[in-house]
Amino acid sequence: MALSAGVLGMLAFILLAFYGVAGWALVRTLRQESRKAEILEEQDRMDTYSPKALAELRDWIEDNPDDPLVDEARRRYNECVDTLETTDRHFYDWSDREIDRLEQI
């Protein structure tokens, strides 16, 4: 029995949706791992948040000063800022201008 165009189309879509996404995720995460290892060979620590995630963390700290976890959030924020200011190589895509604007909370 010859396969219909519909079956072949669905097969192609499913292969792409499953193996495409799983393959992309696997390659991306393993490459990131290599990059992290490379950075940590040169320096003992590394930035932990992307610009967007760090900005969001800062907003949350400012909006929730009485939250029981705010001290931990502040520590993580400050740790990332300190690392960005004192290291040369960064994992996330930080520009010098963005780093200059950062302040500890």
Binding site: M1, A2, L3, S4, G6, V7, M10, L11, F13, I14, L15, A17, F18, Y19, V21, A22, A25, L26, R28, T29, L30, Q32, E33, K36, L40, M46, T48, Y49, S50, K52, A53, E56, L57, W60, D67, P68, L69, E72, A73, R76, F91
Partner: protein
């Protein structure tokens, strides 16, 4: 119990690949191989797979991110993780619920691993392609021989104990980094063999032919929902435990969420591609459950060229899939009991594996008992564990806090605000719906009564036990009170 000082520095995964393979090895089990292909074919083929894919992204990916992140955030096994979030109180008992469900699950899963081991051994002996071989009689004779089934259950638990005793890196990781690729390799070779057989296209059409009208049926979505949640092992404590061994700069959402959910489902699709072209090529009807693997498929091997070798690939791969799941299911109990008691890892492994072995003897002895427990825990026990874990994240710790503090920290992808309501409302609502739907569908049956007993008794036992044990320790405020996202 809980105030035992740390014995040694906590173990970590040696490599990123080791963590990823542990996640995949844990989640890919018998269901991916004997259940997914059949239910896909019977529920609209491609239409079902589309529904399943959508639910994976909507529920399983965010849910797994949350569970791995909780393990990563607390750096503890299930009971310790609950204590970190709810403080010292009886509510820590919900961690005990997760533990009890895992022990129960493993007690009847170990005999199933024993079945796959038995068939893997016979595939290596070329039994299935020998003259006069009778698949059904062989299967029945095997199940009717309790010495054999209990013996294999013993071998399986002994093997799991030996691997777990070696530790996370030297035991679990060392095995999964070879076993998971070997499983994929087996299925790929079998797929190539199957697709090159005359008549294989009928099998492809059965699974991937699209019957769009199925998308309008509630049954399709409920089946897809069950498959998406159960095959990914969401909320069983496995992802939490594996996540607790992540290293300082490891990512959570990309590897623990996207790769795990889609990757393990990809193996289900691969199993469909490996099995159904072969089954249809020799003119057999597809079947579901154990019969597909142990009777239908076994009839195929003598009919195809190189059938003996294909049988080896299939059953060895199948055995590896079930063994790695069994390892990680057992690790949930080993990790948390080792943390909560004065026992060292080897003593804990022996105690946990011994208890599971003892509890698993009735299931190894009788398939009826095994099927009963599978139905009860599959439909009510596992959703209860999922509700406990996702509930504590969604309603006590709070998804917004977890997302900011852990999910997006060192992350390979950014996870936005959309994640919060999915974890807090959607996943718990879906789990409650599943529990209620199965209860309604099986109302008054012995299975439903057993399920209701699990739903009521397990939380009571957990709460009472931890109220007593936690009460002995000095009072302490909850680490994470409130959860007002």
């Amino acid at each position: 119990m809980a105030d035992t000082p740390a014995k040694t520095a906590r173990a970590e995964w040696g490599t990123r690949f080791g963590f990823l393979m542990a996640m995949i090895g844990a989640m890919v089990g018998a269901g991916n191989i004997w259940r997914f292909p059949y239910i896909a074919g019977n529920n609209g083929g491609g239409a079902f797979i589309l529904a399943y894919l959508a639910l994976l992204f909507l529920l399983a990916v965010p849910g797994l991110m949350a569970e791995v992140a909780l393990g990563r955030y607390t750096g503890k096994g299930v009971i310790g993780a609950f204590r970190e979030v709810v403080g010292r109180s009886g509510l820590v008992g919900f961690g005990v619920v997760v533990l009890l469900v895992n022990v129960a699950l493993m007690s009847y899963y170990s005999p199933v691993i024993g079945w796959t081991l038995y068939y893997a051994i016979h595939s290596l002996l070329f039994t299935f392609t020998s003259a006069g071989f009778q698949p059904e009689a062989f299967w029945t004779a095997f199940l009717d021989n309790p010495v054999l089934t209990i013996g294999l259950h013993t071998v399986v638990m002994g093997t799991i104990a030996a691997v777990l005793a070696l530790g996370i890196r030297r035991g679990v990781e060392r095995l999964v980094v070879y076993a998971v690729p070997a499983l994929v390799f087996s299925l790929v070779v079998m797929t190539i063999r199957g697709l090159t057989l005359p008549g294989a296209s009928d099998g492809i059409a059965f699974i991937f032919g699209v019957q769009w009208e199925f998308l309008a049926r509630s049954e399709t979505w409920i089946t897809a929902l069950g498959q998406a949640l159960f095959s990914t092992g969401l909320g069983w404590g496995i992802a939490l435990t594996i996540g607790s061994y992540l290293r300082e700069y490891d990512d959570v959402p990309l590897g623990g969420g996207v790769f795990t959910a889609i990757g393990e489902s990809s193996i289900g699709v691969l199993a469909a591609l490996a099995i159904f072209p072969v089954v249809f090529a020799v003119g057999l009807e597809p079947d579901v459950g154990a019969n597909l693997a142990f009777i239908s498929l076994v009839q195929v091997f003598p009919e195809i060229p190189f059938g003996g070798l294909v049988a080896i690939l299939f059953f060895v791969g199948f055995f590896l899939a079930t063994l790695t799941s069994g390892l990680l299911i057992t690790e949930v109990s080993v990790t948390t009991i080792s943390e909560e008691t004065r026992l060292d890892r080897t003593q804990t492994v022996l105690g946990v594996c011994g208890a599971i072995w003892l509890l698993g003897i009735p299931s190894a002895y009788s398939v009826t008992i095994l099927n009963y427990l599978d139905f009860v825990f599959g439909n009510w026990g596992l959703p209860l564990a999922t509700l406990a874990i996702i509930g504590v994240i969604g309603w006590v710790l709070g998804p917004q806090r977890l997302r900011l503090l852990t999910v997006n920290r060192n992350a390979g992808i950014y996870v936005g605000h959309w994640w919060n309501p999915v974890v807090k409302y959607v996943i718990p609502a879906v789990m409650l719906f599943i529990v209620a739907y199965f209860a309604y569908d099986n109302f008054g049956s012995p299975e439903m009564i057993g399920g209701m007993l699990v739903l009521v008794l397990f939380p009571i036992i957990g709460y009472a036990l931890m109220s007593i044990l936690e009460g002995r320790a000095p009072p302490e405020a909850a680490e994470v009170p409130g959860g007002d996202d």
